[in-house]
Each structure stands twice: as structure tokens, then as C-alpha cells.
């Protein structure tokens, strides 16, 4: 399938959002709000629940499913306080030895005056650094759109999975076309070049697993995610924390490591 068709599917308005995934995969979910510094960001839902019999921390980006909720959720584009709320919950998970599930679905971290004033760059940077050394297992799943740094801020995990029709990209194809070619009509071409589909990213070893989907019925997706998450966490809970964080470091260390680069003078 052409890359841009995936982009359209990933952004489709009828696609289940973070809250739907939480409702269908976890039980007894309790939402916990606020970053304890500035406010509560409705673009990120954080809380606790059971994954079968296992208590886990869940952090999900939420786009909203109707006009009113989309406005309230800022269309799933978090402010810095959203990332700080997520990090606060991750540290709590570490304290109480709970695995962490991150559900990624955002067109990007919000670009606005308030977001910049309150340190969007700083909030994302802190998450990247802190997630690297979390002593509990973390699995991130891109369920819709994985938009650049705003997605990666929940994506420093032991394993990164993607739904079949999800996308994950350094920049939106629209942004790429207008910046690089100054021509918004080249969006489809940009989508191809960016290698943003789950299939491309599995080949590049950016992700570890694709969850196959029937995009009209997500029941099987929820079921498969529930079982796969459970199995993976059970395995990872047997791993010593030092080994876990070393493996996570190595996982991200490998991208563009020396063997992939040219040595023209050697």
C-alpha cells in the first residue's frame, strides 16, 4: 500500500483513540491528573489499571473523538505539562515497580506561545533522558500518528510496536514537502521518501513488532495487544533492572552507530 494511504488511515477520524485502547485493554482504570507544576494537560491521559492480573501504569495521547472533545484535548498535541505529567507517573511506576505502557498518537507536540514559554523542548528532553534509565519495563505502541519529538517523548522504551496502519515520522509529510520542496502538492511523494510506515520501520529496525489490524474492527487488535503486552512484561519482569536499562540504552545506541557510517579516508 502506498505510504500516503497509511497516513490517511492513521489520521482517520473514526479510528479508535487512546481512551478506547485503555477501555478495551485494561480493567479498573483510574486516571491520575496533573504535573504538580502548572496544570493538567487533557492531550495526555495517565493512570493505573490492570493488564489481566498485573497492575500497570498507562500513559496515552488522546486526540478526542468529536469536535468538542477534540478541542478540549487540543487534537492530541500535548503541552509541556502533559509530558511532565507523564514523567511524574513514570517515576511513580518505578517507585512501585509497575510496568509502563505508552500509547502514542499525536501529530506532534503543540507549537504555540504557551508551550514555548513553559519549555516544550525542555520537557521533551527531560523525558528522553529519564526514560532511558527507568528501572521498570516500558513498552510503547504507536496506535495512530507518531509525530516527531512529541511522539518520541513517550517512545524511549524497551520495545516499540506499531499498529499496521500507524505511522511514525521525523516530520509530517506536509511539513516535509513545504520545507524541502516548497510545494505542498508533493505531500504523497514526501510520505514515500520519509519511510514512515510500520513495514518500512520494521525493516529499518526502528520498531520491534507490527500489530496487524482490520481497520474497521479493532476487537482483534485490542485482544492481541492485551496478550502480547502481558507476555512481554512477564518476561521482562524477570530481567534485572541494570540489564533492562543497559538493553534499552543499547537499543537506541545502535541507530547510526559506526558500522552504518562511511569512512572515506580509511
Amino acid at each position: 500500500m502506498e505510504a500516503y494511504k497509511r497516513v490517511a488511515l492513521a489520521r482517520k477520524k473514526t479510528r479508535p483513540t487512546g481512551q478506547d485502547f485503555i477501555d478495551n485493554i485494561f480493567t479498573d482504570f483510574i486516571e491520575l491528573h496533573g504535573d504538580r507544576c502548572f496544570g493538567d494537560d487533557p492531550a495526555i491521559i495517565a493512570g493505573l489499571g490492570y493488564l489481566l492480573d498485573m497492575p500497570v501504569t498507562i500513559i496515552a495521547q488522546e486526540r478526542g473523538n468529536n469536535t468538542k472533545s477534540r478541542v478540549r484535548r487540543n487534537f492530541g498535541s500535548p503541552h509541556p505539562e502533559g509530558y511532565r505529567k507523564a514523567l511524574r507517573q513514570m517515576h511513580l511506576a518505578e517507585k512501585f515497580n509497575r510496568p509502563i505502557v505508552c500509547l502514542i498518537d499525536t501529530s506532534g507536540a503543540f507549537c504555540g506561545i504557551g508551550a514555548e514559554e513553559r519549555g516544550q523542548g525542555h520537557a521533551i528532553a527531560t523525558n528522553l533522558m529519564e526514560m532511558m534509565s527507568l528501572k521498570v519495563p516500558v513498552i510503547s505502541v504507536v496506535i495512530g500518528e507518531g509525530g516527531s519529538g512529541g511522539a518520541l517523548a513517550l517512545g524511549v522504551a524497551d520495545e516499540v510496536w506499531m499498529l499496521e496502519n500507524a505511522i511514525y515520522s521525523v516530520i509530517s509529510p506536509e511539513g516535509c514537502a513545504s520545507i524541502l520542496w516548497k510545494d505542498p502538492s508533493k505531500t504523497k511523494e514526501a510520505a514515500n521518501c520519509l519511510k514512515l510506515t510500520a513495514q518500512d520501520l520494521l525493516e529499518l529496525e526502528v520498531i520491534d513488532k507490527i500489530i496487524s489490524e482490520n481497520h474497521r474492527d479493532f476487537k482483534n487488535v485490542f485482544q492481541e495487544l492485551k496478550l502480547s503486552l502481558y507476555k512481554s512484561f512477564r518476561k521482562k519482569q524477570l530481567v534485572a533492572p541494570e540489564v533492562l536499562t543497559q538493553n534499552r540504552y543499547n537499543r537506541f545506541r545502535k541507530y547510526g552507530a559506526l558500522e552504518n557510517t562511511n569512512h572515506p579516508e580509511n
Binding site: 507549537c111 508551550a115 514555548e116 534509565s133 519529538g149 521525523v170 526502528v206 547510526g256 569512512h263
Partner: protein, 295 residues
């Protein structure tokens, strides 16, 4: 009145140049004179070279290349470069990327967007990285991420502080997700260096944006910035397009970030070496006191 004399003489000469430009075509050779983007005055290139690329009239900091910065900051002959021959490949077969890389290295005389190595700052041994604005706006691809991570790993292994000068347009989109993941990779390197109890000072220069702001630029123990440097996650144009309103004057400048509490201080270029060496000195006593067990 020494200062008066100093300022007056070049001004008269420059006015002469301006008149010459209006009357006849052979204008001022660009290698001799440059116009300051802030105060619009013409300045001799030699004056800039002798004064840290700072406008002698208004104090505007011109952009400077990485080699000039290394010479400015490190003690003579102390800099030893690491991995100078690492260069990028077009792993995604992105259109026109190969040509862009060739142009960038011809334009900047560098192989990639960052120079790393070790050197001395007033006698203090440091691991140093300096990003290169002339290489694709210092954008971060796999090689930039790799060189910076290697430097943090080297500094951690050798118990060295890291000093880094950032300038970047963000993640390099021609490398797709592999560029974005450099944010996570470099952050891992910074985190390990940090956990080893070592000092990292970042100096943010104009412009530091996108994926670099949202990773190692904002992760330093002490963050300094150059006067009026643009420091942003999303650049001003992107924000104006998103929210469809004009941004207030001075938004996302170093002074604004200082006011909002995101940087520790603003240091003009002529004071940077001194400031860095004072900070390094304050951190050079081992934890728990010196060898006599007291501070």
C-alpha cells in the same frame, strides 16, 4: 577620549565606501566589509575577526563557524579532534540528499554538522563539541548523533566534563526516523555522563531549535546562551502558521528564556572562555573534598 577616536575613524571611512557604492558599480569587496544585520552599519571584516565576530557598533553576534569557535575557546594547540572523517550516507535513498551533502561539505569545509574532541580551556581538560551552522544548518542526522554520543561516552570513561556549543535547525528530515532517534541516543549518552557525577555545560547559540533543543541542548547541568540567540522547540514561523497570530517581539530569544527560567545565564562571546573556565574551576575539586579529606 580614546573611545571617541576609535569609533569615529572607521565610520568616516565606511561612509566613503557607501558613497562609492552609490556612484559606481565596483562595490566594496565583501571580504573586506560586511553589513551588520542588527544595526545595518558596514563593518570591516578584520574588526569582526579581531573581536569574536561581534559587531563593534551594536554588539550583535555574527554567526561563526565551528573552527573559529574552537580557536576562540580552547588554549592554543590543545584541541585534538575525534572521528574527523565520519560522514553521512543516504540510507533512505532520499531524493537530492547526496547532492546536498556534497554541497554542504564544500560550503562548510567540514565532513558533518559537528566537530568533537578534547581540549583545554584555560588549563582545564574538557571534552568539547561544537556544532557547525554552515553544514545544513547544523541539522542532526545519524553522524551528528553518533559523534555527540561517542563524545559523552568518551567523557564518561575518562571522567571529563563536557562543554558543548549548539546550533541547529533540528533533526535532519532526509534521514527520517533514524534522525529523530538520535535525540534518544544522545540523551542516553548525556544521562550516563550525568549519572557518573560529571559536569556538562551547554552554550546555546543562534539558532538552536527543534530536536536539538528537545534533547542534549536542554539536558545540561548549566545552560548558557549567547545574547539574542533564537532558542526554540518550534521555530517562530511554524508557530505563526499554527496559531495564526504574530509573535511578541523578543519571543524565543535568549533573554526571553532567561526570564522564563530555562537557561542559567547569557554570556557574550568575549567573556565565554573566562566564564567557562571559572565554572570548570568551581567543579574541579573531587566530591567529598580534596586528598586531605576536607574542602
Amino acid at each position: 577620549m580614546i573611545s571617541k577616536g576609535l569609533f569615529k575613524k572607521p565610520k568616516n571611512e565606511l561612509e566613503g565606501h557607501l558613497r562609492a557604492k552609490r556612484t559606481s558599480d565596483p562595490a566594496i569587496p565583501t571580504e573586506l566589509c560586511r553589513s551588520c544585520p542588527a544595526c545595518k552599519q558596514l563593518i570591516f571584516t578584520s574588526d569582526l575577526d579581531n573581536h569574536f565576530q561581534i559587531c563593534p557598533k551594536c554588539g550583535h553576534h555574527f554567526r561563526m563557524n565551528a573552527r573559529q569557535r574552537i580557536n576562540m575557546i580552547t588554549d592554543p594547540d590543545s584541541f585534538c579532534e575525534h572521528h574527523p572523517d565520519l560522514s553521512s550516507i543516504n540510507r533512505l535513498d532520499f531524493p537530492d540528499y547526496d547532492e546536498k551533502l556534497t554541497q554542504a561539505s564544500l560550503f562548510s569545509h567540514e565532513t558533518e554538522g559537528v566537530i568533537t574532541g578534547t581540549g583545554m580551556i584555560n588549563g582545564h581538560q574538557v571534552a568539547l563539541f561544537v556544532m557547525e551552522v554552515n553544514f545544513m544548518m547544523g541539522s542532526m542526522g545519524q553522524v551528528v548523533g553518533e559523534k555527540i554520543t561517542l563524545l559523552f561516552e568518551y567523557a564518561t570513561a575518562h571522567h571529563l566534563p563536557v562543554v558543548g556549543f549548539t546550533v541547529s535547525g533540528g533533526a535532519r528530515m532526509q534521514e527520517g526516523m533514524l534522525a529523530l532517534l538520535q535525540m534518544a541516543k544522545t540523551s542516553g549518552g548525556v544521562k550516563r555522563h550525568c549519572d557518573a557525577g560529571l559536569l556538562y555545560i551547554a552554550v546555546l547559540t543562534d539558532p538552536t531549535t527543534g530536536g536539538v533543543t528537545a534533547s542534549f541542548a536542554m539536558e545540561a547541568d548549566i545552560i548558557m546562551a549567547e545574547p539574542e540567540a533564537l532558542i526554540a522547540f518550534a521555530g517562530p514561523r511554524v508557530i505563526e502558521q499554527t496559531i495564526r497570530q504574530r509573535l511578541p517581539k523578543g519571543f524565543q530569544k535568549a533573554e526571553f528564556l532567561l526570564e522564563k527560567g530555562f537557561i542559567d545565564g547569557i554570556v557574550p562571546r568575549n567573556l565565554q572562555k573566562e566564564t567557562l573556565s571559572r565554572l570548570l574551576a568551581l567543579h574541579s575539586i573531587p566530591k567529598g573534598g580534596d586528598e586531605h579529606g576536607s574542602l
